[in-house]
Point group: C2
């Protein structure tokens, strides 16, 4: 079992998971868009037995096979057994067992079908799987924070190239999230409004970093983007948690996400990226301080010493400029309709 | 001129520096240990005219040529002109001009002489150059925070392979540093002691993460290491700022740094890494809350979506295990004496 340790200088948590050193890496042996199903790929149909038993299975068209599978991460950083009891290891050091959940969402049976090539309906199934697992795991009283993310490409940390995302349900919210909450709470106390709702409104008003707007969602490149082409997708109504998104809105979100990723691909060419689905900590879902949102981070630059050492990022393109490029591509229909 | 923008959700700063997109990248065209001086390398002797005029020049042996040069970064993220006056861009967005200093320390005239191959005396000259620039820049009233770092290898963000480090003097401390200060201040208020001094003492006492100890310095792999083989070098006496290190201690530090890097190289083979020289913010140098230290971060793992999205790192090796490997290598004399 892994351990979760607290950094005494930042109070941030680190997961020490030696078993993950053994996970297979095939991504770097394959071209960016891998050609075809692979007998050695644990996520391809026919190889289901090489992964742990499934947690969720959405049936394929006509009920045959599967469209999306969710399985425990075979080399999971956290394990769903035990209790996250803190141990004091001397006056400064604190740790607990690595209790939690680490799951893999296999997004499609097709080895080469990246999200921007999917239909809207296929992306919707992925989002439904995210939400189903999110709702199931927040019922676990040990779970305090759920994060869903995708590593696409080697520079983004993929170890397997078959399209998949991951879910981590942790027994403690990240200190970074606690800090964001402090900022948002102070804003609410000052103004009586949700900082993130105000932010979405301000980006819609400013227009120059806006990428796409529907009746329900806003896509923009944030004012203080950390990397070129950083892109956020946020809801227009106040919803702190992804668990709260309606089935109808998942349909609209699927279309917005697919178009956004495809358009970024049209502008940047094949590129590595991460996306992260942020939600409020489980116990704060009812508060008015936060908004779930998807943060897309293209990995065009390397994170270097300044970023790692200080937290200050240097971005080489203003979001106003990159957003204008993405808007132009969208207008040309580069990312589909 | 670049701009420094504040993220309204984290209050962290981001430098928007479009001119840096134009900087040359030669590192990825060369093998990890580049073979020989290069006519196209702006940091090799003979090519001094291709870089901006020098800020510091330490003469070579016998006074001929130079041993270490410091020059402004030709594609600097910050510029030493103007005043860092904040501009409110609406109720949520805040920025200032990119005022500050961004310098390059060319560590040696030899294109292929990485720090672990240098003599102790050569490393000492590099540290003297760091300190001389640190002292010169903290006299600039606009400078609130100085960070010195090294990107070694492409995975660590190097754009040029000739051995060099960088210095950034910013008009505002990183929010991350402010947060670390909060933690350290609370510890001081609770205990009357410096958190970092206590940490060094606790690591010396725990022994199992300790790598090297001299009369003046401690090298250890921290309890909550973010990446495998993360290694800190810290002083035993209370010194918040690198500006306060005595000339005598720079000699000892050079030896410790060179041995540590060489031993990590012996254990890991050729590998990319960052190191960061942390100091207290300029105005807090007199306080008892902080300790300058060097943090070495081997880039063996890719920083992926979980790390970027939550701040929680997953490390695949416990620091007790990696420290033991490094201690064994040191005992064998793998990193020199």
């Amino acid at each position: 079992m892994s351990a979760i340790r607290q950094d005494p200088t930042t109070r941030e948590w680190v997961i020490v998971a030696p078993n993950r050193a053994r996970r297979p890496h095939t991504a770097r042996d394959e071209p960016a868009a891998a050609p075809a199903p692979d007998a050695a790929c644990p996520f391809c149909p026919g190889n289901e037995a090489s992964t742990p038993p499934g947690l969720l299975r959405l049936p394929g068209p006509g009920g045959s096979g599967w469209a999306v599978r969710v399985i425990p991460n075979k080399f999971g950083a956290l394990t769903p057994s035990g209790e996250p009891v803190r141990r004091e290891c001397g006056p400064l050091f604190r740790e607990m067992d690595g209790v939690g959940h680490h799951e893999v969402i296999v997004e499609t049976p097709r080895h080469d079908r990246t999200m921007s090539r999917m239909t809207d309906a296929e992306v919707e199934l992925v989002l439904r799987a995210y939400q189903a697992r999110y709702k199931a795991l927040r019922a676990d009283a040990r779970v305090k924070y759920i994060i869903i993310f995708k590593n696409h490409g080697e520079r983004a940390g993929t170890s397997l190239s078959h399209p998949h995302s991951q879910l981590v349900a942790a027994p403690v919210p990240p200190m970074q999230t606690r800090r964001k909450y402090e900022v948002a709470t102070a804003h609410f106390d000052d103004t009586g409004r949700c900082l993130y709702c105000d932010l979405v409104e301000a980006e819609v008003e400013a227009k120059d970093r806006l990428v796409l707007e529907t009746d329900r969602f806003v896509v923009f490149q944030p004012y203080a983007s950390r990397v070129p082409f950083e892109t956020w997708i946020a809801p227009k109504r106040h919803e702190p948690s992804f668990a709260q998104v309606s089935a109808e809105d998942l349909v609209g979100l699927a279309r917005v996400l697919r178009r956004t990723l495809a358009t970024l691909g049209a502008v940047l060419g094949a590129h590595d990226f991460n996306y992260v689905l942020h939600s409020a900590p489980v116990e704060d879902e009812g508060k008015r301080y936060y908004l779930w949102h998807i943060q897309i981070l293209p990995r065009l630059q390397t994170i270097a010493g300044l970023e790692l050492g200080s937290g200050i990022f240097i971005t080489t393109m203003a979001p106003e400029e990159s957003a204008s490029l993405v808007r132009d591509a969208l207008a040309r229909g580069a990312g589909g309709r």
